[in-house]
Amino acid sequence: MTAPGPRPVRTSPARRRTPRPGGRLAWPIAAVAAIALALLVLPLVSLVLRAPWADLPRLLARESVLQALVLSFGTALAATALCLVLGVPLAAVLARASGWPSLPRRLLRAAVTVPLVLPPVVGGIALLQFLGRRGVVGGLLDDRFGITVPFTTGAVVIAQVFVALPFLVFAVEGALRTADRRTELAAATLGASRWQVFRHVTLPLVAPGVAAGAVLCFSRALGEFGATITFAGSLPGVTRTLPIASYLAMQSDPDEAIALALLLLAVSIAVLIGLRDRWLPGVRG
């Protein structure tokens, strides 16, 4: 990269062709874009085309499917609630960290970002080293209190929180950064305590960001697979969530796997519709 230096300001705006929004793109760009779009859309279209529609009610009414559905929604909701409780304060700290020295600020941001870019199965292995029976903390819990964390529904929730929390934190942090500080200042001037300002001014101000973060967090938690199967295992009704049930069904009953995949796809689309454009400025159409 060349260092940006002072450059002569062009006084004449004389450019032969000014690209207009909505103007035509060079054809190779359009062609590659079409390939990219096909790559994103065609697999899902094929899933819908190949779905065993006639058998679907029977497949989805299976005890194993209902069990996985209930477990998945229950754990994803619990994980979202935990993410809200833990994530909003972390987002507040992160938003304020802009005034910190560079090193701790960057470390904090990196710590929140890592689970976002980490393969979930690595998260599962790490959680096992942390909370497993012979883990750094899990070993103590097991020895002293007889608490074993892996292979429990709680472990599923912990795995989901691990992978989903950054989504909530960054959504809320973004909202906090762009929120108008003056209302907070006004409230503080009028004698509100820091807690009152946060509770009655800041939070309502960033509510759309919190809601968007929560929905993203929920859909990420619902889709969690790698960390869950590694850390929590796979027992029907206890730890076998929809994605794990779908993966296992693929071994013996592809039709059931497709039915489960359709179910997850439907939930994802419902989440998108729920979000629409107002909560997700980044994907506003």
Partner: protein
């Protein structure tokens, strides 16, 4: 900031090349003869991982220019992958049902049963929970891992437990036998049911416990050349090698029974 023109034609070419690569990657090279270097892609049951690693190396040593690529996993998953078009030359399954799935799709040549396996209890070294028999799998306070019944070791587990009248209280049902063994090696579970060969392969980290009735539930391992194998000759040679004397010796050492 300096603005660059997007090198669109370059991008388009790169994408086209990538797609072309996808299209031709799995198909056999035309005109490949015995002299040309060839690759045998072997899809093998998770329980065969270690012994096939050894066998592949010995096979390669005797046949210069032939390379064996192993892909191991749950037999059911491998069968589904092959049916879905995975480029397998040889499939070795831990039971006859997954091989039947592949045969039903018209993709498997005639299978040969080359090994058998039975189940064993496995516990972490030192047996911290004092496990002594199948009945211990019903103890609620123990952490127990079993194979899911969608994979051969799980089907054998269900069969064995039913025959012995034990209602197990598992804490996890894993997608392949190696995942079960790993949970024991890590000490995350107190007991598990796996193949006797897995107990041997896991070495000192675990202890095996013979269980009554295990001999009555025998998994038979079939192996077959795939009908659309990219290098059918080398594939057939590998199958003959596994089913032959050298294969037998390695399988014996790993604890597999004779067919």
């Amino acid at each position: 900031m300096r603005r660059h023109r997007a090198p669109a034609p370059v991008l388009a070419l790169a994408v086209a090349a990538a797609l072309a690569g996808c299209a031709t990657g799995g198909t056999p090279e035309p005109g490949s003869s015995d002299a040309a270097p060839s690759t045998v892609t072997v899809f093998a049951a998770a329980s065969l991982t270690h012994v096939f690693d050894v066998l592949a190396e010995r096979f390669e040593a005797t046949r210069p220019g032939v390379e064996v690529v192993l892909s191991s996993g749950g037999s059911g998953a491998l069968a589904q992958q092959i049916v879905a078009g995975a480029p397998a030359d040889v499939f070795a399954s831990a039971a006859e049902a997954p091989m039947q799935t592949v045969a039903d799709a018209g993709l498997a040549g005639p299978p040969v049963v080359f090994a058998t396996n039975t189940l064993q209890l496995v516990v972490p070294a030192g047996n911290p929970a004092g496990v002594s028999g199948l009945d211990d799998l019903a103890r609620d306070e123990l952490r127990v891992a079993l194979c899911d019944d969608s994979v051969p070791c799980g089907a054998a587990t269900v069969d064995l437990l039913a025959r012995q009248g034990v209602t197990a209280a598992p804490d996890t049902l894993e997608a392949d036998v190696t995942s079960v063994v790993t949970k024991v090696v890590l000490g995350e579970v107190d007991a598990a049911l796996v193949y006797r060969t897995d107990v041997i392969a896991a070495g000192d980290a675990v202890e095996g416990i013979e269980v009554s009735g295990a001999a009555s539930v025998v998994n038979r391992y079939p192996i077959a050349v795939m009908t659309d194998a990219a290098s059918p000759d080398a594939a057939a040679e590998f199958v003959a090698f596994v089913a032959g004397a050298e294969g037998r010796a390695a399988l014996d050492a790993a604890g597999f029974g004779a067919p």
